[in-house]
Amino acid sequence: MFKQFSQVAFFAILREDESLSEAQKFFEKAKGWKELQKEVDDLVVWIREIGNRGANSEYFNRDENRSFALPPKGKRNRPERIQNNNIRLYCHWVSPHIVILFNGDIKTTSRAQDCPNVSSHFNNANAWAKKLDNIGIEHSGQEITNIKDLIFPV
């Protein structure tokens, strides 16, 4: 489990030979994005707030094929050079109480598939979401009850 709040448990993918999960890698990168600091901080606060309120599926409005991307679509007044929030943290919504966070980066092209920063994360997110759906995530509240079955090659 990556983070647990009163309503939502956020899980992450951990590769067998690594110490940092994919989500941890994302936040390690993101904390250094000086020009997008406000956007990064908003995103983390939003995750915590959703964690304490419940992950209503309607908040996950940025469809990315089989997965979703955070932040959700929405616009803040920002300087012209940062008109679009191009941060993409890919995730898989399981229930109002479970969300699986993947990895991501700053998207630099119109399509994620074409972006050198996020294309691998986009592809991984969709492959992992498909794999998880095929295996089937059994859950009760904030617990994934068949978590030991959710081991697959990444």
Binding site: N61, P72, R76
Partner: protein, 127 residues
């Protein structure tokens, strides 16, 4: 402390308040939609507002810079208050004390809530 927690710690109060207020409004709109006799979904709300569903989805995402004008439009369509200041709530509902059950009128439906408040003090009801 990992990077997530470091970012959370450095976030300014304005970030916290912005997201929290935003989500308060989203939750209130969803609550009102559930109670509305006709407009039950975000889709129907978007039709009433003459907006694309994707636009309303952004409004209610928790990270959109909602204008007072947008809130006013939703409030007008839903027929119930989305935001109420403490002062206005006191004028409308007065203060509540422990052990009193209150009859609340929500939209055109009347519902009765019977509950024991946990502590003494003034409570502000947010519609």
């Amino acid at each position: 402390m990992d990077a997530f927690d470091e970012i959370l710690k450095r976030a300014k109060p304005e970030n916290e308040i912005f997201v929290s207020l935003n989500l308060d409004i989203s939750e209130q709109v969803r609550f009102l939609l559930a109670l509305h006799p006709e407009i039950k979904t975000q889709q129907k709300l978007s039709e009433k507002l003459n907006k694309q569903p994707s636009e309303i989805s952004k409004w209610l995402s928790g990270l959109h810079n909602l204008t007072l004008e947008s809130i006013a439009k939703m409030q007008a369509v839903l027929g119930s208050e989305i935001i109420m200041t403490d002062k206005r709530a006191r004028e409308k509902y007065g203060s509540m004390s422990e052990g009193v059950s209150q009859k609340l009128t929500v939209s055109k439906k009347t519902q009765t809530f019977n509950y024991q408040l946990p502590e003494d003090g003034d409570y502000t009801l947010v519609a």
